[in-house]
């Protein structure tokens, strides 16, 4: 006989679901210098909408400083107030907290942080916006200094390690896919893409390019893996003359590959680019015009050997610069940066002086590029523990990121050796670390 059995199943389920969902509250994790205000994080010290406390807006014409509303013009300067915040002099990519922070020349906050996507890693100013590329998601984000709605452009690859201006376009190094992507910010789309691999499957790992006219010079870092080094580590010379009007990509192409491999000894680096058993690892390029009409591209060569974790992290010798003479058929020469510059990476030009950030030696090295053979100057030591990363010069002042914290160092090339350091990027609330990944001047 079939009988119906009264069952506690529905009641048990309801009770369990209620108990389960009761513990399902979202936990907003705010950076160390912010507080949760409703569903958002607010920097109470500088947020004009939540000044000193959640839901405490500053009146028009005032900005928020140290948690108190104060006259905006007095803080920011006449004509430099926007939406209750200052127009920033420079911008810093805060990787751990997924933010970009605008700061004044004295490194004081210009206002509340800008939200970025996952892992902001590179910045550049172009077309009145600050463009952000991300390492953990293939997007470019255009931030407007007036704090209007940002523009997001989603690319198809992964790990967009560097973004740079290229005329009216943006040039993005897609390190995951091994391509240089040319993006039109007006159309919010990629218009051209150049495959930088020497052969399918090779991992070129492009980093920070420099441009001379419509020619791009893209450092190819390669993978930290033999036997790819010799083949992959190079500077790709890319013809981008048709990219701006490209209708059917690819329009750009690699016209030359300045290999850092020794042509007479496969598997070894070209003499002058590294010290065995190291490899060059070219990472960042800058173009310098001196004298007028003669452009050269300088590329930092890290010169690294395998470290304790099985990756190429340790200096194999002095840092180097690859010097490419664009006016002489891209002739390649090298420069030894000396014992005070180990593992160089970041590079920026101030006039005809190129400054190199030497990570392993904790120094900044000026190189006079106005002469036929560039000449290294006297290294500027940074405070102990500061590992210089990326550089920017805004006005006459230099700014450099710390690879191991959220700090920025400020220096005046005309007033050395004074260096001021300020923590700009906040500590991630869980991981307990901060990283100022890049710095750029305001548009």
């Amino acid at each position: 006989m079939k009988t119906f059995v009264p069952t506690p199943v529905p009641a048990v389920l309801a009770a369990l679901a209620a108990a389960l969902l009761a513990g399902c509250g979202q936990e907003l994790a705010c950076p160390s210098d912010q507080a949760a205000c409703g569903g958002t994080c607010a920097a109470l010290a500088v947020d004009p909408q939540n000044c000193g406390a959640c839901g405490n807006p500053c009146p028009a014409g005032e900005t928020c400083r140290a948690g108190a509303c104060t006259d905006c013009a007095a803080v920011c300067g006449a004509g430099r107030c926007v939406a209750g915040a200052c127009l920033a002099d420079l911008y810093v990519a805060c990787f751990a907290s997924d933010e970009v922070r605008g700061v004044m020349a004295d490194l004081a906050p210009a206002g509340p942080p800008f939200r970025a996507d996952n892992g902001p890693v590179s910045l550049t100013a172009s077309g009145g916006a600050v463009w952000v590329s991300h390492s953990l998601v293939p997007t470019l984000l255009g931030l407007h200094p007036d704090r209007s709605v940002p523009l997001r452009i989603t690319l198809g690859g992964s790990d967009i390690e560097v973004v740079r201006p290229f005329g009216a376009l943006l040039a993005a190094s897609d390190s995951g896919s091994g391509t240089l992507v040319l993006v039109d910010p007006v159309r919010a789309a990629a218009v051209d893409e150049v495959d930088l691999a020497a052969s399918p499957g090779q991992f070129p790992n492009p980093l920070a390019p420099a441009f001379v006219g419509t020619t791009g010079y893209v450092p190819l870092y390669g993978s930290a893996a033999a036997p790819d080094y010799a083949e992959a580590q190079a500077v790709a010379v890319v013809d981008l003359s048709a990219s701006a009007t490209c209708a059917a990509p690819p329009c750009g192409s690699v016209v030359k590959r300045l290999s850092l491999q020794d042509p007479t000894l496969p598997g070894a680096c070209r003499p002058g680019t590294c010290d065995a058993p190291g490899y060059p690892f070219p990472s960042r390029a800058v173009a310098v015009e001196s004298p007028p009409g003669r452009s050269r591209v300088l590329v930092t060569l890290a010169n690294l050997k395998s470290g304790p974790f099985g990756y190429y992290t340790d200096p194999a010798g002095h840092g180097r610069l690859a010097v490419i003479d664009a006016a002489s058929g891209d002739a390649l020469s090298t420069l030894d940066l000396g014992p005070d510059c180990l593992n160089p990476g970041g590079i920026a030009a101030l006039g005809t002086t190129v400054w190199v950030a030497c990570g392993a030696s904790g120094t900044l090295l000026p190189v006079d590029a106005s002469v036929e053979t560039p000449v290294p100057g006297t290294a500027l030591p940074l405070p102990a523990g500061f590992v210089p990363g990326n550089l920017a010069f805004c006005g006459a002042q230099g700014f450099v990121t710390d690879q191991y914290s959220g700090s920025i160092a400020r220096f005046d090339p005309a007033n050395l050796p004074a260096v001021a350091i300020e923590a700009v990027c906040p500590v991630d609330p869980v991981a307990g670390w901060a990283w100022a990944a890049d710095v750029t001047c305001g548009p």
């Binding site: 108990a19 389960l20 998601v137 995951g176 896919s177 499957g201």
Partner: protein, 639 residues
């Protein structure tokens, strides 16, 4: 159905079960009593009538070229991540969990190692599988700490004296298989021996976009390089009834060599790995008194992995081993069947990347009941277990209810809580881009589910809902120096619906049968900044569907299958979608001889030859593949 007094049922159950232990083969057909079905040694799934479980019978796919991962993926609630297909790394996720949160067992012996990272299903030889039991939910109280998402138990074929089989297959990309097994036995013993070899050249064609940011440019034809591999396996198992009880022994060993091709844009043509595993166990079950039985078990496992990695000069070399002792008593008391037990284990792993040799002891004690009321129509299953895993200890609990409602209809519901201790890799691994974090805490999970089921001559159907909450999840985050470090950084919830149905063969329609498994999964990130809070967890598609239609006659049969995975996100902010994917397969067989059976089968996977398929992590999946199989087999003498 005749009503039987509960007390009488349980007493008879315990008595018969104990007798069965001394008379029948391990995991043979269970003893069917009027209200309760319990074999001895207990089947892992049958040990909890209130659990959410699916049993995938390998016989249903006989002669088909399906690995463990493909069989598992036919169950609802399950997502198999295949990193490149064709014998490559394949891990399983249940109800949105990580691979680490699924306990994978072989005949009840846990294969997860203290090193962590989940179990690679492709390392389990497929030819001698009897069935795969998939249990969903926080099952730590029944299966031990770590089973936060659920359990996959691969059950090998029983020794059926007189039975034997031999199989050879060849197909696309230089893929071939050889396997054979035979069973012997006498009045009070039986034994099974089996061996297999699977190999592939792995060079399948695919289409790749080397400039993914621009649209309209043509895809580039490629052939997968450095993708070959082979897997060899050996199984020996036997049982003997004597000395007042029953002894079971099992030895399973496997060894593999596989090339590791890397993503197409970053080929790793010199990478590869050799791995191997051997597991052994000895079980003894005996009746102690009326209603009281005892099971003791000793087990051991050896693991080996040598990897050549271009990215890590010197490669990786791991050696591991584990020993375990377990004892469990089962007592048929007045209201139900009570099981209580304890276990002790030790695991040792040697790896330079772990800083040398690491050992981790484990202790556990548990008690679980299977209470029956209303003549067995209502079952209640409480269970609690304490696990000490190295320095980490904690309680797991579960309460389940099952009821037969009316006719073929039944209902079940359960809720549980468990935890997972950090793996040795998460605590100590220092390799390449990875940093350790010795300050990690255990993860924990709560889950609840309920389902309605119907089972009758026409088939089986089940529809249910579930919810899970994970806290203190360990995830790798970018750390200092551009390296990745694990943190107890995440909290997530998963809720969804699982539906499965299978019809019995319709003899009038050429033995037509159909089955379907559907999962709806809604994940939610419950901890993080504004950009990720409330977003879906990456690589967790909302919909999965498996459907199969087959006809099977005396002489021939055919089947067709469809897998659908809906769009999912590849990032935490849900900015970058991965499009949906369909995969179709068909196959058929001819039975040339009935006894011994000679069967010729053909199977076509990726029928539409979609060469753009990817696994969600940037690895191409195989194009259309055809396998032809010849199978010779003879059934044994067991009923």
């Amino acid at each position: 159905m005749t009503s039987v007094p509960l007390r009488g049922v349980l007493a008879a159950l315990a008595l018969c079960a104990a007798l069965a232990a001394s008379a029948e083969g391990e995991e043979q057909a269970p003893i069917h009593l009027p209200e309760v079905v319990v074999p001895l040694p207990r089947l892992e799934v049958a040990g909890d009538a209130t659990g959410s479980a699916t049993v995938v019978e390998a016989d249903r796919f006989q002669g088909e070229a399906k690995g463990v991962a493909e069989l598992v993926s036919t169950a609802p609630g399950v997502a198999v991540h295949e990193y490149g297909g064709l014998g490559k790394l394949a891990t399983v996720s249940i109800r949105g969990s990580s691979a680490d949160a699924v306990t994978v067992m072989l005949d009840g012996l846990v294969l997860n190692t203290a090193f962590g990272g989940g179990v690679d299903l492709s390392t389990i030889p497929r030819h001698w599988i009897d069935r795969i039991e998939v249990v969903r939910g926080a099952e730590g109280a029944r299966y031990g700490a770590g089973a936060m998402g659920g359990v996959v138990n691969v059950v090998t074929r029983r020794a059926d004296p007189g039975a034997w089989s031999a199989q050879a297959a060849y197909g696309s990309f230089g893929t071939f298989t050889l396997s054979g097994d035979a069973a012997l036995g006498g009045d009070d013993w039986s034994a099974l021996g089996a061996a297999s070899l699977d190999a592939t050249g792995g060079g399948f064609p695919f289409l790749w976009d080397f400039t993914p940011s621009t649209s309209g440019d043509p895809l580039v034809p490629q052939v997968r390089q450095n993708n070959a591999g082979w897997l060899g396996g050996l199984l020996l198992k036997g049982d003997w009834s004597g000395w007042g009880g029953r002894f079971d022994a099992l030895l399973q060993a496997s060894a593999a060599r596989r090339e590791l091709p890397g993503p197409p844009a970053h080929a790793t043509l010199g990478d590869g790995q050799d791995d191997g595993r051997a597991v052994t166990l000895v079980r003894h079950a005996r009746r102690l008194d009326e209603g009281l039985s005892l099971l003791v078990e000793a087990s051991g496992r050896l693991d080996r992995l040598d990897a050549t990695l271009e990215e890590a000069p010197g490669g990786a070399r791991q050696r591991g081993g584990a020993l375990g002792l377990r004892a469990e008593t089962t007592w048929a008391h007045g209201a139900g069947l009570l099981a209580a037990g304890a276990s002790a284990s030790g695991e040792r792993i040697t790896s330079e990347s772990l800083g040398g040799t690491r050992t981790r002891p484990g202790l556990a004690a548990w008690i679980a009941d299977d209470l029956a009321f209303l003549g067995g129509r209502l079952r209640v299953g409480p269970a609690v277990r304490f696990d000490q895993v190295g320095d980490f200890g904690g309680l797991s609990g579960k309460l389940g209810v099952a009821a037969r409602l009316w006719g073929p209809l039944a209902a079940r519901a359960s809720a549980g809580r468990t935890f997972r201790a950090p793996s040795l890799a998460e605590l100590f691994l220092e390799q390449g881009l990875l940093q350790p974090n010795p300050d990690l805490r255990p993860e924990s999970a709560w889950s609840a589910d309920a389902a309605l089921t119907a089972e009758g001559p026409a088939g089986y159907a089940s529809a249910g809902a579930f919810a899970s909450l994970y806290q203190d999840l360990i995830v790798y985050e970018p750390g200092t120096g551009n390296r990745l470090k694990p943190f107890n950084d995440a909290k997530a919830s998963f809720r969804g619906v699982e539906v499965e149905a299978a019809s019995a063969p319709l003899r009038r329609l050429l033995g037509l049968s159909a089955s379907v498994a559907y999962t709806w999964l809604r994940s939610e990130n419950l901890r993080g900044n504004e950009q990720v809070l409330g977003k879906e967890i990456s690589h967790r598609p909302r919909h999965r569907l498996f459907a199969r239609l087959s006809i099977e006659g005396e002489r021939a049969g055919a089947h067709g299958e469809a897998h659908w995975v809906s769009a999912q996100y590849q990032d935490a902010q849900n900015l970058v979608p991965i499009p949906e994917a369909w995969l179709f397969s068909v196959g058929g067989f001819l039975r040339l001889l009935r006894r011994p059976e000679i069967r010729l089968a053909v199977e076509v996977k990726n029928l539409l030859d979609d060469r753009t398929l990817q696994d969600g992590f940037g690895n191409p999946l195989p194009s259309r593949a055809v396998m032809v199989t010849a199978r010779f087999s003879q059934e044994g003498s067991a009923p």
